[in-house]
Structures are given as structure tokens and as C-alpha cells.
């Protein structure tokens, strides 16, 4: 998909996830909105996947280490036809497969996550298996910035470069907020890029809500042979919904009727402008 269409797609996914969270009366709104552009770039452009054959062994792998942001993922997998889109209505309801965290009973999900700090080590394992088997698939792992406080992240950070896993791309959704407030107040992370570089990663810092930069960065990885890539995706928590942007409270706040209407209006206006942009091109 070309970039303008990707931007419109991301806005549509945001609308879908807001409706889904509103309907279920539960969900992690802020972190899902912040990483929607990252997931849209990966799923609609960058990753080799086949919705009709989710277990195709040549596929690129994605691990949502920040599993609480599953809403954007459910909406994308439903939109791509990994499962019937209708099923999004069952999100978080009794007995559903579409629970509040990734669940590998659902086609398209590799691994169950939800406890933070697990994903990268799993990614190291998958990337290592690809190397040992001489396969060319890539592994993408999305983490939160608050998640960086878990020691297990750094154990995996040490292993990636040790095994020269240049087929591994770790992404940090650097939205600078966690539940209790700013990451720098809760548990300071800076200088975060220097830390990853010191562990032996090739660090690329981008605007993680800018579709052009996302596509360019992911398509280029690995840019240095023998080194895993860390994409510092500087994002806005609550991105795309004016009143939720950069507000910690929206981490797991659920929009009411009016807020939903306002958010949907903002996002459909954005889609219209992308469509205009597309026509002009």
C-alpha cells in the first residue's frame, strides 16, 4: 500500500478500535492509538504475511510485547481477514477469543503476551532460529517505554547483538507516558538511545507517527549487517484524538458517547484530507 493510503488506513483502524473499546466498555486506548501507525506500516506494507495462510513458514514475525495495546492489532487482523471482522464486537466479552491481550488461538498472533518484558527474549529466540535454519524472515518486536523498566528487557537486549541478530528489529513506542504519568518521573529512562547503542544495537530514531519515516526505516532494516536494529519510535500517546493526546489518564480510559463522536469526526476529517492528498498526487 502506498503512503497516503497507509495514513488513511491508520485513521480507519483508529476509528475501528475506538468503536470496539466503546462497545466493550474496556480497553487500553492511549497506547493503542500511539502505535497504530507503526502497526499499519508493518502489516499493510512492510511485513511478508499471508492472511489466508497465517502459519506460512516464510512469514515475518511480529510480537506485541506491549500486549495491552492489542486493540489496534485486533482491528488490523480483522481488517486483513485473519478472522471475520464481525468478531471485533466480541472484544473482551465472556468466552471470546479476542481478549484484552494477544492470544495465539487467534490466527495471526504468534505468541501470547500481556506480562510486560517478555517479548524481546521471544524475538531473540525466533530470530536465532531463523539464523540457525538459514531462513530469511525478519522478526519485529514492539515494546513500551514504561516496559523498559523490566530487567528482562535488558537481558534480551544483551543477547540480540551477542548472536548478531540483524534479522531482529526491536521497536520502542516512545510516547513518554505510562500509567502513573511521565516515564521520566516514574522511572527515568534517558539517555535511552545511548543505552541501546551501548548494548550493541543499531539505533534509529524517528517520528513514530510519521508514515514515510516508518516505512523507510522498516524497509531499510537491517542497515548494518551483524547488528540488530532498535527503532526509537517517538510517538504521541492517544495520537489522532485531540483530547486524548498526551494525557496519561487515557491509558485505559474508555470514551463516552460524546467523546466517541468527536473522535470519529476528527478521524474521518483526517481520512478526507488524505484522500484529497491522494487525488492531487
Amino acid at each position: 500500500m502506498e503512503t497516503t493510503a497507509l495514513k488513511a488506513k491508520a485513521a480507519q483502524i483508529r476509528m475501528d478500535l475506538l468503536k470496539m473499546i466503546h462497545g466493550a466498555k474496556t480497553g487500553h486506548t492511549g497506547g493503542s492509538l500511539s502505535n497504530t501507525d507503526i502497526l499499519t506500516a508493518l502489516y499493510y506494507r512492510v511485513m511478508k504475511i499471508d492472511p489466508a495462510n497465517p502459519k506460512w513458514d516464510g512469514r515475518d514475525r511480529f510480537i506485541a510485547s506491549k500486549g495491552h495495546s492489542v486493540e489496534s492489532l485486533w482491528c488490523i487482523l480483522g481488517d486483513l481477514g485473519f478472522f471475520p471482522k464481525e468478531e471485533l464486537k466480541t472484544f473482551s466479552q465472556f468466552g471470546t477469543r479476542l481478549i484484552g491481550h494477544p492470544n495465539n488461538k487467534v490466527p495471526g498472533i504468534e505468541m501470547n503476551t500481556g506480562a510486560l518484558g517478555h517479548g524481546l527474549a521471544i524475538g531473540v529466540g525466533m530470530a536465532l532460529a531463523a539464523k540457525r535454519d538459514g531462513r530469511d524472515y525478519r522478526v519485529f518486536c514492539l515494546m513500551g517505554d514504561g516496559e523498559q523498566a523490566e530487567g528482562s528487557v535488558w537481558e534480551a537486549a544483551m543477547a540480540g547483538p551477542h548472536y548478531k541478530l540483524d534479522n531482529l528489529v526491536a521497536i520502542i513506542d516512545r510516547n513518554r507516558l505510562q500509567i502513573s504519568g511521565s516515564t521520566e518521573e516514574v522511572m527515568g529512562l534517558e539517555p535511552l538511545e545511548e543505552k541501546w547503542a551501548a548494548f550493541g544495537w543499531h539505533v534509529v530514531s524517528i517520528d513514530g507517527n510519521d508514515m514515510e519515516q516508518l516505512v523507510r526505516t522498516f524497509e531499510a532494516a537491517p542497515s548494518i549487517p551483524g547488528k540488530p536494529t532498535l527503532v526509537m519510535a517517538n510517538t504521541v500517546k492517544g495520537k489522532g484524538v485531540s483530547f486524548a493526546e498526551n494525557v496519561a489518564h487515557w491509558h485505559h480510559h474508555v470514551p463516552n458517547e460524546e467523546q466517541l463522536a468527536l473522535a470519529l469526526a476528527e478521524l474521518s476529517a483526517a481520512i478526507e484530507s488524505y484522500e484529497q492528498e491522494g487525488l492531487v498526487r
Partner: protein
């Protein structure tokens, strides 16, 4: 009238009160002060509050260090992560090193219903029970939670406390009773059968008592708020005097309250027993009440099990 105060808020209120006099009381949180209802404590006593970020192993290690230096740390963190992720720190830094750390697992059991198995905490009693010297406590309602918190501040030694997320209906009429760690409370007398419960299932057991009374069954109800050290004497007496025991818990049927009671029963006074809890299968998602209902953790089902056990 339905109670609207969750137990986590009672812990905060009680600690706020006690911290006025006791500057050694400390509260720690792992990006969880909101879920633990500890934001008021953080605000009132910033010098007695520590935020560690999303790092459950770190929070237990730091607490052990604080306790070693004379502080009385209360660690507040989701039960699922606190009990399992940090279990080695709990074993070595808290229990083995005999530090005075109180571990408060919040949103325990299936409180985080729709978030899936990563967030359900139904193995915590099994693991914490196997650690020497660690007290394991599940308060039944807000009154017991208040008394328990006061007792914990006085208690020297490690403890794991598990509470749920939502307010629970009262079990006690008021907080005018003595809470003793390790001493069970007989809430209803009865001669045909004993139901032993802990935490939020105590309320369910009381409702089952009423349902059984209508069916002509005289049922004893024991609130086993301390899973460890278990009140063995109360169990043995129940077995001897009522001849049948049912345990009810918001935990896997493996290794929890039922297992603890069964260990005593088979060794001291074997009687027919049933263990009701979460079966050994992948977690089902839903609200707490839906999950309880799905697994038959309800007064109606306990009544059925009881009648079956009594051969009626």
C-alpha cells in the same frame, strides 16, 4: 446495602492513619499506585513512598533492602506479577533472609477477567504457600482488611496478601473483632458439613449456608483468612464434628486452600471432602462474576455439591 469500598482502598486508608504515628511504614508501587488505590498515600507521605516503575523483581529486592534497614515496606503490585514474577526474590530476599516485607497482591484471582491468563492470579497461593516462613493471607471483606492491615504493621516477618479489585459484600457487621494471623474464624455453626473459604469466596460460602439451611442442612462456615500458617486445629475439629468438608477458593484446584486443608484432613482425620476452585484448564475470559459462574463458584452449586457429598 451493598458495600462500595474496595479492600485496596481500605488498606490505603488504614496505612494513611497508621503512618501518622509510624514513620517507618513505607509503600512501594510498580506503576500501580492507581490500581492499588495508593495515590493518596503517595501524595500525603512522599518521603514514605517509593515508585519503582514496571519492575516487579526490583520492587521486592528494594523492599528487602529497606526492611533490612528498619523500614516496614508494603509492596503493592498486581498479584499476578508480584507473586509469580518476583517469586525468587520473595523466596531468597524476603523469606530466606527473614526481612520484614509485606507483599500486597492487588487485583488477584480473576479480578482482571477479560485480560486473560497473564493477568489471572490463580497460582499465587500454591507458590507462596511453599515458601517457608511466609504468611499467606486473604481478607474476606473491608472490615477484615482493616484489622488485617493493623495486624500486619505489628507483625514481624514476610507476608503475602491477596486482595481482589472490586468491592465485596460485607461478611462482618463491623470491624469490632480481633484479627489474629493464623487463627480461622467460624462464621456459622453447624453439624452436618463444613464449608471452608477464604477471601471473596467467604461471602459465597455464607450464601451457600443459607441455601443449605432451607434444605435442612446444618452447615458450618469457616473463614480461613490465613492460608499459611493454616489453622489446623479448626480443620481437624471441623472434620471430627461435621464429618464432611467443602473448600471454596478463587484459585487453581491445585495447591491452594483446598490442597492445604486436604493435607491436614488426610493426615489427621480423613473425611469425605470436595475442592471447588478454578479447574486445571486455560483461563476463560470475562468479568469476575461470569468466570465464577462458569466454574460453579456460586451458592447454588455449592448446595448441589453438599447434597451430593451428604448423599441426599
Amino acid at each position: 446495602m451493598a458495600n462500595t469500598i474496595p479492600n485496596r482502598q481500605v488498606i490505603c486508608d488504614t496505612l494513611l492513619e497508621l503512618a501518622k504515628e509510624d514513620r517507618d511504614i513505607m509503600v512501594l508501587a510498580s506503576d500501580s499506585r492507581g490500581s492499588a488505590a495508593m495515590a493518596p498515600f503517595a501524595k500525603a507521605y512522599p518521603e514514605q513512598f517509593v515508585e519503582v516503575g514496571i519492575a516487579e523483581q526490583n520492587i521486592v529486592g528494594i523492599s528487602a533492602g529497606l526492611a533490612h534497614s528498619g523500614k516496614k515496606p508494603f509492596v503493592t503490585s498486581p498479584a499476578c506479577f508480584l507473586s509469580m514474577r518476583s517469586i525468587e526474590q520473595i523466596k531468597v530476599d524476603v523469606a530466606y533472609s527473614a526481612t520484614n516485607v509485606k507483599l500486597v497482591g492487588i487485583s488477584g484471582g480473576v479480578s482482571y477477567g477479560a485480560l486473560g491468563m497473564s493477568h489471572h492470579s490463580v497460582q499465587d497461593l500454591a507458590v507462596s504457600r511453599a515458601i517457608p516462613g511466609l504468611a499467606v493471607i486473604l481478607p474476606a471483606d473491608r472490615h477484615e482488611t482493616k484489622r488485617m492491615t493493623e495486624a500486619l504493621v505489628k507483625h514481624e516477618g514476610g507476608a503475602y496478601i491477596r486482595i481482589g479489585r472490586n468491592p465485596v459484600e460485607d461478611v462482618y457487621e463491623n470491624d469490632d473483632y480481633e484479627f489474629v494471623i493464623g487463627k480461622a474464624v467460624t462464621l456459622r455453626e453447624g453439624g452436618d458439613l463444613t464449608i471452608i473459604a477464604a477471601g471473596e469466596t467467604v461471602r459465597v460460602a455464607l450464601d451457600a449456608h443459607d441455601a443449605l439451611k432451607e434444605a435442612g442442612v446444618s452447615c458450618r462456615v469457616i473463614n480461613m483468612h490465613t492460608i499459611k500458617p493454616l489453622d489446623e486445629e479448626a480443620v481437624i475439629r471441623a472434620a471430627a464434628e461435621t464429618g464432611h468438608i467443602i473448600t471454596v477458593e478463587e484459585h487453581s484446584i491445585h495447591g491452594g486452600l483446598g490442597a492445604a486443608v486436604a493435607e491436614v484432613v488426610v493426615q489427621h482425620k480423613p473425611v469425605p471432602m470436595r475442592i471447588l476452585g478454578i479447574p486445571d484448564e486455560p483461563a476463560i475470559a470475562g468479568k469476575s462474576a461470569e468466570v465464577f459462574d462458569h466454574y460453579g463458584i456460586s451458592a447454588g452449586n455449592i448446595k448441589k455439591i453438599a447434597l451430593d457429598l451428604l448423599g441426599r
